[in-house]
């Protein structure tokens, strides 16, 4: 088991491709995505409206080596600033196999 940082990002679904590009660029080994999440935040109620598709959120989770965290977070910050969304970081251990 090696310690890693677990990054969770909740973002406007339209920004998802963009965010995944940034993660790839930052050199993460991988990520897991739930494309449709609903929720509530500063920008009000989201989702529950598949008709226009405008209010959908996506959830991205990526586990990365601790030393890479800073780089990744910095590359995400501008998007979060401009487009809203949430980014949480927590500690986890990766089961090597």
């Amino acid at each position: 088991m090696i310690p890693v940082k677990k990054i969770e990002i909740i973002i406007d679904k339209h920004e998802l491709p963009n965010v995944l590009k940034l993660l790839d660029a930052a050199g993460v080994s991988g990520y897991t995505v739930f494309e449709d999440a609903t929720g509530k935040g500063d920008r009000g109620l989201r989702g529950g409206d598949d008709l226009t598709g405008v209010f959908a959120n996506s959830y991205v989770m990526s586990a990365c080596p601790i030393e890479k965290l800073h780089l990744i977070v910095e590359s995400l910050r501008p998007v979060l600033k401009q487009r809203g969304g949430v980014c949480l970081v927590s500690d986890a251990e990766w089961i090597i196999h």
């Binding site: 008709l51 226009t52 598709g53």
Partner: protein, 323 residues
């Protein structure tokens, strides 16, 4: 006459299902159309309407009259967002004004469909190429609005701008792409193809439309709350701009010598506001704009206004002028 139109129009299933949807939310029923069904229903509607239009064009051929109509449609789709923008700027930020302008410059396929069904019920003929007109009206408003936004905005982010992305969002946007593609396929696949697809694209069409409008009613009702944010100005705008657009469209249609039915569809296209293609494009091109303004305006005000009061009104006026 007016009044009969109004009633006759009101009592057809799709519109009644829209109100059933509204009612569901008002009485706090837990009725809902689960994701992603609304998405696939709208894909179906775009597919069917596009294909029918293509078949219509293939049957009719492309005379100058049609070319003129298509040109007029494109022109209106570029003109409307211009004056809409300057009206909106009096109260709103550049981003919001541009996004709402795009919404009203573009069109609503479901409004068009309802209007076409309305004509069929009254046995008033119209040209299949009007679907092409609709398809052509989806994109220009997006382009115009984004350019306005770009010129007027001081926001940094307005700077990082790519013509490529704008073109893609405007022309290859899922719903625009599907209706255009289906239109072309309708033209190419001719008689045999049309016959093979008739049961799917024509026969079950109204039923699917009912389901879609049921969901639109639910969503519209849920978004009604956002209108408080929108305020009186925008609420009024949602009713008045369609009237203004119609007031511009009807004389234009007359001078261009459009037929009775075509003029009506042309008018409804100008009067309708987008709630799928444009919002999707705006999220990408003008993310600063607040979707809880332009979505409820087109969905909860302009759409019901057009299908209930607008359609009979526009047709009554057209009847008077054309006869």
């Amino acid at each position: 006459m007016d009044f009969n139109l109004l009633i006759g129009n009101f009592f057809n299933p799709p519109i009644l299902f829209f109100f059933l949807g509204l009612l569901a939310v008002i009485v706090k029923s837990d009725l809902e159309i689960p994701t992603p069904i609304p998405k696939i229903l709208s894909l179906y509607l775009l597919f069917a309407i596009g294909f029918k239009g293509g078949v219509g064009i293939a049957a009719g051929g492309l005379q100058t009259q049609i070319v003129i109509t298509l040109a007029a449609a494109t022109a209106m789709a570029s003109l409307v967002p211009l004056y809409a923008f300057f009206i909106l700027r009096r109260k709103l930020s550049v981003a919001d004004a541009a996004a709402i302008a795009a919404t009203y410059g573009s069109i609503s396929a479901v409004t068009f469909i309802t209007a076409a069904a309305f004509l069929e019920k009254l046995n008033i003929p119209y040209g299949g190429y009007m679907v092409a007109a609709m398809a052509l009206m989806e994109s220009p408003a997006i382009i115009v609005a984004v350019l306005l936004y770009r010129l007027r905005s001081t926001d940094r982010s307005a700077a990082d701008f790519s013509w490529n992305e704008l073109g893609r969002d405007a022309f290859f946007n899922g719903s625009v792409f599907l209706i255009m593609g289906s239109l072309v396929i309708g033209i190419l696949s001719g008689e045999a193809g049309a016959r093979a697809l008739k049961p799917f694209t024509y026969d079950i069409f109204t039923g699917v439309l009912c389901f879609f409008l049921l969901d639109m009613g639910i969503v519209a009702a849920k978004r009604l709350g956002d209108l408080k944010k929108a305020g009186v100005f925008l609420t009024a705008f949602g009713v008045l701009l369609p009237l203004i657009n119609a007031a511009v469209a009807i004389p234009l249609a007359y001078t261009l010598g459009l037929s009775h039915g075509d003029a009506f569809l042309f008018t409804i296209l100008c009067a309708s506001a987008s709630y799928i293609a444009v919002p999707a494009a705006m999220r990408l091109s003008i993310p600063e704009a607040n979707p809880s303004l332009y979505v409820p305006m087109s969905l909860a005000i302009t759409f019901p206004f057009n299908i209930i009061a607008g359609m009979p009104l526009y047709l009554a006026v057209i009847n008077r002028i054309w006869s």
